[in-house]
Subunit: 345 residues, 2 copies
DNA sequence: CTGAAAGCGCTTACAG
DNA sequence: CTGAAAGCGCTTACAG
């Protein structure tokens, strides 16, 4: 006997108790005998009772929803990435009794600085904003009178609570790995003036070089895109390195194709590593050694933070960093330096 | 002066009117002078008023939310597709004053037949379910006492309201195009026992052949995956066709790689077409001629249907079909038959 | 252990 | 054109 308009009172009437008692029982609160509680739950199920969240929301002033904002202006590839992040966020939120509402921010709304309607309709208790968005929009987000948190976003100076992946350290570890494998002639591929994450990855790369006193060759910093982010024709350097560290998998794959065309074998003649472990990592032939962000960790931290902020709105968490891990595949070949004295490095 | 707890009454008090009048003004209802209405809206904005949807929801019995369910068990590629569908759904829903809540159905929940929590918490007025899901889950969805609609799903016998893309007609058109370009030796690539959409595409292919009295060669129906859907090693037929119609872009790309390895040039020696226009269509080299679903149309039909069902729960729409369109790229070469008499076909 | 009362913020009749 | 009253379904004090 399913009815869509079963309320607590209906259950109460059926059992000859009050709706207060039903509420207590269904919420596992004190003040109801175990016996009655069990009976109430049984009848609730039988009658197909479903909680009316709207009523609870009005009473408590909480919607038990978090808005997740993803800017549209990402390629399909990143879409897949962000969708997986969303999935992790949703499942983390669920463990707090929360649901998540995905809002895809259209380029137009971003441009016009239109905040999500769910904000104006008080449909959420807070926002998690993913990815890089325009400063003007960030500012508007900051003006919202609800808790908010930025994910995978970094902007100098902006005093925002954010959780970012550790681009710097990831690239550092990946480069260090190459060096441990004997590579000393290393190029970085990416427009280092383009985005903050490309920059950070470059700096991690550079740090690994510095640590091993390997000089940074200007010729081996290779542009992969123009300043608008559109990929450009790659130019191989006059003198070739033994390994390329690419700022992302897509470019790594692109480079591999280029290398093959020019007659280089990967990894025999030339090692290549990517970053992100997205679809291009396995589209590339051979499959890329790359870095993957620990997405579950990312989501866990984010949800924990936003929950804290919902409960105590004055909480600030600052900038939190989540580490990645290297995924070893088939694009790195060890190099031996038999001519070198042992332990020279 | 932003305050997060501004209510209609606050606005009313400020202006010395009643909250009823404020409600009417903000909802553009009759019964308020234009002058007062304007003034109320002004003050509302000034005070940073945001509608409390929960209160409206309780009153009206509508949440103005639609749940969109996407099964997790899809590859990254399909994820991108479904995310775009979601995006279109969301923007269509917005035009009805609705928000959308994305629920990604985990494989575990699908297996255990756990309905989304948003259902049990009455957070949505209806559901749109995307993609192919297990019969047991479908059945549970059918039991839900809210309107629901299936998208891109088809199951024989299930009396569900669904909107599907026209696999049959799309493949028919694509194949007809090849035939118009002079191809008469055509192979279909796909396990025709695997999924309903692969089957339908095959049948569309077959219909085009029938129409032109081109015999169907059993050797030219080539398996691309096992019955679990995992791609297998492709085997080229002993005698080669002039064109391959592949059931999806991913396999088309896979085939092109294979052909290249075996020394065939695409499209010079062999034309290839895909289906879906997903990322593989442009990852493939050369870029694929393929079929794209009219996603906006799909979303528009879906939202229109679910809105109708929300307003009149007894509405049924049955099975609605949305057409696709061919995207012309670089994998088809016209064939001339100079030996043929003019107009023979 | 159980329940009557009040209130969350809105909207819909209805009365003036 | 404007407003007082009632009610949507719940939960939180409070009283018994």
């Amino acid at each position: 006997m399913k009815n869509d308009h079963v309320t607590m009172r209906d259950i109460a009437d059926r059992l000859g108790v009050s709706s207060v008692t039903v509420s207590k029982a269904l919420n596992d609160k004190d003040g109801v005998s175990d016996e009655l509680k069990a009976r109430i739950k049984e009848v609730a199920k039988e009658m197909g009772y479903r909680l009316n969240t709207a009523a609870r929301a009005m009473r408590e002033g909480l919607t038990y929803n978090i808005g997740v904002v993803i800017p549209e202006q990402f390629t399909n590839v990143n879409h897949a990435f962000y969708l997986r992040v969303y999935q992790h966020l949703a499942s983390q939120l669920e463990s707090y009794g929360y649901s998540s509402i995905l809002h895809i921010l259209s380029m137009q709304d971003e441009e016009m600085v239109n905040l999500p309607r769910i904000y104006y309709e008080k449909k959420v208790d807070g926002f998690i904003v993913l990815g890089q968005i325009k400063p003007s929009y960030i500012e508007a987000v900051q003006q919202m009178t609800v808790p908010k948190l930025f994910l995978d976003f970094y902007q100098e100076g902006a005093a925002v609570d954010s959780i970012v992946t550790d681009n710097f350290y990831g690239a550092y570890e990946l480069t260090s790995y190459l060096i441990r494998e004997g590579h000393e002639e290393l190029a970085y591929m990416g427009n280092i003036y383009s985005t903050s994450s490309i920059q950070d990855r470059f700096l991690g790369f550079y740090k690994a070089l510095l640590e091993h006193r390997i000089p940074l060759q200007p010729d081996w910093i290779i542009r992969d895109r123009d300043d608008h982010g559109t990929l450009i024709e790659l130019e191989l350097p006059a003198s070739m390195p033994t390994a390329f560290v690419c700022n992302c998998d897509q470019v790594a794959r692109y480079l591999i194709e280029k290398l093959k065309k020019e007659g280089y074998r990967v990894p025999e003649d030339c090692s290549v590593v990517g970053y992100d472990n997205d679809i291009f990592a396995t589209v590339a032939e051979p499959h890329l050694t790359t870095v993957e962000v620990d997405m579950e960790m990312l989501a866990k931290s984010a949800v924990k933070a936003i929950m804290k902020k919902v409960n105590r709105p004055d909480t600030t968490i600052g900038r939190t960093v989540v580490q990645g891990k290297i995924v070893y595949r088939d694009t790195v070949k060890p190099i031996n330096h038999p001519e070198k004295k042992n332990g020279e490095r």
